[in-house]
Structures are given as structure tokens and as C-alpha cells.
Amino acid sequence: MRNMPNMIVLAKQVFYTQDLRIDRTTKKLKTEGVARVISESDKNAIEEAVRLKEKHGGKITVLTMGPPEAKEALREAIAMGADEGYMLVGPEFENSDAHATAVSLAAGIKKIGQFDMILCGETSEDQYSFQVGPRTAEILNLPQITYAVKITLQDAKVLVDRNLEDCYETVESKLPVFVTVSREINEPRLPTLMAIMAASKKPMTAWTAKNIGLQPGELGRQGSLTEPVRSAVATGERKRVMMEGEPSEAAEKLVTTLVGEGVVKVT
């Protein structure tokens, strides 16, 4: 029986998406002044690891990949209760798609070494691909349990409740295992200022691609399996017709139009 789980949490730093706006004059995304935060469900994964540690002991290692600023994410994770942090940093990691990201994270995990459980959020707030968890699990040949809303460690097994569209499912797996969590699993704690200050004294290690044994062709744009053709400011393709007049008048025009278009059937 293994009482003290060794956990690795994968966490991504993202722009706080709700504050992202398009600059109306330059027609470009304005990132200036927008906070960089830990992607929401990744934060839930950190919180869950901390709760498991509070109950069973063990160790939490956080792994991130991103720009030098991502160090802040590691610091926050440690302030929440993680023991140490590693970051994959360098231009060679830039523009990695879900596959190249998973390849990089899996190499980082192998370098960290021992683990019983890997946790991460079900998806990242900025990319919304839902791919990195399952892809990393596949590379590491680990059982995957997605959309966790409850995690219980029992002997050398884990019991997980999952939230699916139509049902809640309870599943069981041996360790080691790869788990992605949903936001409803917990409310992440807010670390105190003291904890954040103390976190900077905890060990944090930066690794380049070379450090984790990856060749240039395996990551970044070159190692990606999807090819971006272009990106543009998202625009709505709606009619934008305003119904004028007093409430009853505008409502009448609206309903007449909707009925006329066959959008709603009236009996």
C-alpha cells in the first residue's frame, strides 16, 4: 500500500481571457495590462493535489511550459501548497500545438521521474482544445480518467467520479494514472501574501528542450501536426437589425418577423 502519493500537476499560464479585448483601432488583440493567470481548471487540479496531500501526505511537483513569465504560475502553485516547480522554457517550445505540447510535457514528466498520479485541468482557457491531457496520457501509456469531479485514493487505487453529459460515472484505476479535472471539483484556495513570498524560496527549475532530451523537430512549430493558415479577429455574422419603438411595438415587430421566418411555430 502506498500512503504517500507522488503527484505531478501540469499547469498552464494563460491571459485572463475575460479581460482580453480587441483594440478597435488596430483591430488587434490587446494583451497589454491583461493579467496572466493559471488556467482555471489547472488551478482546480493544483487544489485537488493539495487536498490529497493534506489527507495522505506525499509530494506535489508542478510542471509548466511557457514564456519566462510562467514562473509566476509556478510560484502561485507553490504558494497554494505544491512542493516544487519545473518549467519548460525557451523559444523552441513556442507555437507548439496540442501534440508538440504533449510531447514536451511527457518528456518533462519522464525527467522528473517518479509519480503515482498526474493531474491537469480538462482544457486550457485560451486554446480550449481538450487534447493535451489525453495526448500526454497516451504518450506515457497511462490510464486516462477525464472530467473528474471527485478523487479518492484508496490503497494503490484511485476512485474517480466523472461528470459526463448524461450521467455521473464512478471509475476505478490502479496507479499510476492520469486524471483531468473539471472546475466543479473544488474551489481553489487563495494563497496568502505570506505564502506567495515564501514560495519564492522553494525550488524552481527551468529546462530547455535539450535538458529534457528533445530534438528541434519534435516540438514547436516543426513538431506540430496542425498547421495554422491564418488568424483573424473573430466577427459575428448576424443581421444586426434593431426593432424600434415602444416595448409593445418593438415586441410586435420582433414576433411578426420571427413567425414570418418560421423560427417559431405558433399554434
Binding site: F15, H99, D126, Y128, V171, L225, V233, L254
Partner: protein, 331 residues
């Protein structure tokens, strides 16, 4: 094993029969543009009926795997089977329904096949020059549309549910059913229990009409104003993220947005919702969007078909009243 190394055919798969029919409709369009056949994959304890059904809804070919272990979705078993079949029959495109199960399957499958995958695509078409699928995805909170192709094969995509109208069922249609016996293996994850969710009435993702509200509604006690309109149009009540997550006036299953429910009703009425990009992204597949807001400059009006500037406390009951007049009235 096929003798050729060429990747051919558009495959569709969903563990949900309803979504599979929707995928066949979009798959048909893509396969015609790519000049190839359309195939469906059927997994189950008994696949004979399922296979006939898939042909009737548009499949030229069905790859059917009959095995008791495939009775219900399990990602390890389904990805084992699907990966081996894709390696043997070499499809050009694989379309998977973007249910929660479909998403984890697509990612695991694509990694096994060392191929690219695009999830949550908002638009999917064929690039006439490159003869491959080209998709749009919304990223960065819905602010940016990224257009992508997948140079590796097969090209794997997930498609939203409830967006594509299934073709009409034609029982006279003929198609080839290929029985396959891939190695399914055993799942390292055992399912101990499944509890169906209890939904009061129609679920928001299945609703034809949704009446949603945001912070324009001042207090919880005012929700009946919105409910009344929803009732009049046989719709379901939804809300924006702050209503469910911060104020907790409605369950989280009922909030619409990028991180909540992505909906595809015929009619979406947004009452007192300012139109954060988070919210807009959740309603991009709605056929018609109506918005009511006091602020004529609210971003929601940029993403609206029909807008009314006004106080929702007056306008929403007026819309309900107008609907009642139309249904009981002279015409």
C-alpha cells in the same frame, strides 16, 4: 489490409446515435467535395440494426465491430479499436462528435496515430486547392478565429452536436457493411457505477428555444419574468456565467458560454446580457439570436440578429404578450 498506401474516405463516429446522424450529414458534404466515399463506424453489442440505420442516414460503408465490451463508451477500448481500424483502412478524414466522451477519444486516438486533431471547430470546409479539410476555431476567449489545416493523415476533427441537420432517412439506400474484429483489449479503468443525471424538463443543449438572462435582471425574485417568456415559446431558461457561478441563482449546467454549455437552438433570446465574448462563443451555433438590453452600445448587439434597446422588465413581458397574441389571435 488495403493494398494502397493512399488515405481515402471520410469516416464519422459518435457513441451517440443522434450525433452520428448529424455527422453523416456534414460528412456527406465533405466527402462529395473531396471526391471520396463516406463511411461510418459502428461499435456495439449488436450492430446489425445500427449499421442499417447508418446506411439509411447516408453512409456508403459501415465498419462494424460487434463485441460485448463495446456496449458502452470506454475511451481505452474505443480508441484501441478505432486506431487499429484507421491503421488498416487508412481514412483521409475522421469526424468525431464533440461530446465529452468524443473529445477524449479524438485526442487519444490522434496521439496514437501520431496525427493532428482540431477540436471544437466553428467552421469546417474543404480547401479546393489543397484538397484537404480546413477549419476555423475560436481561441483566446473567442476573440480570435484561427484557421487551420492538418497536413498529417488521417485528419481528425471533432464536430459540435446539434448543429448539422441530419439527412432524411432513406431505408431503401444501400451500403456495404464491413464486419471488423480489431483487438479491443482490456480497459485499465473500470466503470463501477453510472448515475443518470436528473433533468427537470428539456435540457438546455437539446432546447429549440432558449430564453437567457444576465446581470440586467436585478434580483433572483425576478426570474419568473424570464420564465414566463420561456413558457410562452416552449423554451428553456438559461443564463450567463456570473448568474450561475458568482450569484448561484441557477445551476452551472444552465449557464451558456465558452466554458459552460454551448447551445444550438433555433431561437436564442438574451435578456439583459451584455455580451462578453465568453457568452457569445456559447451561442455561435444558434440559428437566430435576439437581444434585449438597456445599453444600445452593449457588445451583444454586434452578435444579434434582432435587437431591442429597452428595459427588460418592460420588453420581455411585451414579447411574451406578442407571442400569445400571435398564437391565439386572428391568424
Amino acid at each position: 489490409m488495403t493494398s494502397t498506401q493512399k488515405h481515402e474516405g471520410v469516416w464519422v463516429f459518435s457513441e451517440s446515435p443522434t450525433v452520428a446522424r448529424e455527422l453523416l450529414s456534414k460528412g456527406r458534404e465533405l466527402s462529395v467535395k473531396l471526391g471520396t466515399h463516406l463511411a461510418a463506424v459502428a461499435f456495439g453489442e449488436d450492430v446489425s440494426e445500427m449499421s442499417k440505420e447508418l446506411v439509411a442516414f447516408g453512409a456508403d460503408r459501415v465498419y462494424a465491430v460487434q463485441d460485448p465490451s463495446l456496449k458502452t463508451f470506454q475511451v481505452h477500448l474505443y480508441s484501441n479499436a478505432l486506431a487499429e481500424m484507421a491503421q488498416t483502412y487508412r481514412p483521409d478524414v475522421v469526424l468525431i462528435g464533440a461530446t465529452r466522451s468524443g473529445l477524449e477519444l479524438a485526442a487519444r486516438l490522434a496521439e496514437r496515430l501520431k496525427t493532428g486533431c482540431c477540436t471544437e471547430c466553428s467552421k469546417l470546409d474543404v480547401d479546393p486547392d489543397k484538397k484537404c479539410v480546413i477549419v476555423d476555431r475560436l481561441i483566446l476567449g473567442g476573440n480570435i478565429t484561427e484557421t487551420l489545416i492538418i497536413p498529417s493523415k488521417p485528419q481528425v476533427f471533432t464536430l459540435p452536436k446539434g448543429v448539422f441537420q441530419p439527412l432524411s432517412k432513406d431505408p431503401a439506400r444501400t451500403g456495404e457493411v464491413v464486419r471488423v474484429q480489431p483487438k479491443i483489449g482490456e480497459s485499465p479503468v473500470k466503470v463501477l457505477d453510472r448515475k443518470p443525471k436528473q433533468f427537470a424538463g428539456v435540457r438546455i443543449t437539446d432546447a429549440e428555444v432558449i430564453v437567457s438572462f444576465g446581470r440586467g435582471l436585478k434580483k433572483k425574485e425576478d426570474i419568473p419574468i424570464v420564465e414566463e417568456l420561456a413558457k410562452t415559446v416552449s423554451g428553456v431558461v438559461g443564463c450567463s456565467r456570473p448568474i450561475a457561478e458568482d450569484l448561484k441563482w441557477l445551476p452551472v449546467d444552465q449557464y451558456v458560454g465558452l466554458s459552460g454549455q454551448k447551445v444550438a437552438p433555433k431561437l436564442y433570446i438574451a435578456c439583459g446580457i451584455s455580451g462578453q465574448i465568453q457568452h457569445i462563443t456559447g451561442i455561435q451555433n444558434a440559428r437566430v439570436v435576439v437581444a434585449v438590453n438597456t445599453d444600445s452600445k452593449a457588445p451583444i448587439f454586434e452578435y444579434t440578429d434582432y435587437g431591442i434597446v429597452g428595459d427588460l422588465y418592460k420588453v420581455v413581458p411585451a414579447i411574451a404578450e406578442a407571442f400569445r397574441r400571435h398564437s391565439s389571435g386572428a391568424k
